[in-house]
Symmetry: C2
Subunit: 305 residues, 2 copies
């Protein structure tokens, strides 16, 4: 059993049937079009769990709060949307007292303010381990959302930033890589640029490693992909970190051939790494050889933090 | 530290500042008004946690799935809204394999279909204990949501159904009371009736016991309340169950004096139990004596399931 199979089974049993529901399970966000509204709304939900995504001993409460929201914002960025508000569910163990809670919300609200996101509600409960689940709602003009399903053969594959930093940080526990693991920067401005200016054909955020995430994008688009240019690797990280490491929260996107993609956007490198092909859906090759999807899958991997 | 204090501290640090955000922390749902849209959207998020809200040994997966959604739908009912779609985050321990997951979603989707709610997405992860967090979005015409803050002195206080059944069921583990605990029926139709026809002045759902929930409604409205008529008690339950027991998921509401409230709505009894007064905000009296708020508070109580 892996996560893709659980999600696939669920999709067969559900469908975006509600009036206004234009995209259901299977992308970074669900899309809802309120009747009469100018904009569409996108929704994502993302858990951050003690001893899976962080450890109480090594992660400060403000860092956990920041990251809880950052993960949700990264999904909003992947759709090319502007984040609007969030709700937070927080299950707290005994050890998380009032000072911990204050600092946690401090970190979360700091990132929320940076992106003008309102914390609009949520739920609180006690539990044996700490878990936060963030819901973020974003908005964008009707019919313009960047989806995983839009890649076509001949499109070029790009990635933002450098990959493998968070995985290296998790191993080493120090330096720029550790900070990268602790404090991801959701690529909201880049997402807007991809949607409005570059009109990217598909996009998603890199949360589980490009080998797994690119496969997911290809499956949704019904295409395969060939990685035939050097992948930008975070300083000090290995190619394995970059290919299979999770939590980079960079954007993976495709553009139609002929699209002029600048070398950077607001200082963030944009690197062409491959091409979309018409082959078997979901197949990814690295310089001509099949690339196994070894990214982080919650239902296959047990290594945790 | 109790839940009310955590929420109050959080409200001081946040405010519904996002464009279109008309109600933030402190009610059953947050309210968002998409620009140009005819309707407002309401959002709620609600956790259901192993060994806090249920036990794997005594609760079947389909019952847990049903209840996870029912709790969210109950908040939607309290606003007088029509539910539209939901997202589910599910943290799964090792013991919850594929059959368990299938049955869990079976129970959730059965209730979703009854109310034409689309499961539009969510998140999956592994964790040491099982936790589900449901997000439900509902809609209603602008400016018509039933809020906790609308009660005024002289209004009458009503409750739907009979109280204390879920608390009795939790104790006894059998009969109609146990089924009541297992399978709450969210009062969606009643919520619509309260908003459209009775034009209730305030409403909320009874999730933590009326002694605590009515206090919360009074605090939001800046009023006190006097319970001066018999409270409808679930067959076999005690007055203590009815006053302080959680998870009844009935609706508590207030109406302006002179409002004609029928004895039942679609077979569900509606009972007048008290009157709103101008006294100290949050004070609740039962036949002239102060009623202590002993309902379930996650941050004060440790008894669990």
């Amino acid at each position: 059993m892996d996560e893709n199979r659980i999600v696939a089974a669920l999709r067969r049993r559900t469908a975006p049937t509600a009036r206004g529901m234009t995209l259901g399970i299977g992308d970074d966000c669900a899309i809802f079009r309120p009747s009469g509204a100018r904009d569409e709304l996108v929704f994502t939900t993302d858990m951050l769990i003690e001893d899976v995504h962080f450890r109480a001993a090594t992660h400060r409460p403000a860092e956990i709060g920041w990251k809880a929201l950052a993960r949700g914002l990264s999904d909003i960025a992947a759709m090319g949307a502007t984040p609007r508000f969030c709700l937070l569910s927080l299950a707290l163990p005994e050890w998380a007292g009032s000072p911990w809670i204050q600092r946690f919300y401090g970190g979360l609200l700091k990132l929320a303010q940076l992106h003008s996101v309102t914390l609009a509600g949520g739920d609180l409960a006690h539990a044996s381990t700490l878990l936060c689940d963030i819901v973020v709602c974003g908005s964008l003009p009707r019919g313009t959302a960047l989806r995983r399903a839009g890649a076509r053969p001949g499109d070029f594959v790009y990635v933002s930033g450098a990959l493998g930093g968070a995985a290296l940080g998790l191993e080493s526990g120090k330096g720029a890589a550790w900070r990268r693991h602790l404090k991801p920067e959701p690529r909201i401005a880049l997402g807007l640029y991809l949607r409005e200016t570059l009109r990217a054909s598909a996009a998603m955020d890199l949360s589980d490693g490009i080998s797994l995430d690119l496969k997911r994008l290809c499956l949704e688009s019904g295409v395969s992909a060939e990685l035939n240019e050097p992948i930008p690797v975070f300083h000090g990280a290995t190619l394995d970190h970059a290919l299979h490491g999770g939590e980079d929260y960079e954007l993976l996107f495709t553009v139609r051939p002929g699209t002029k993609v600048p070398a950077t956007h607001a200082g963030l490198p944009l690197t062409r790494i491959g091409t979309i092909r018409a082959g078997k859906p979901g197949n990814v090759a690295l310089f001509g050889r099949p690339l196994a999807a070894r990214g982080y899958d919650h239902f296959r991997d047990r290594t945790g933090v």
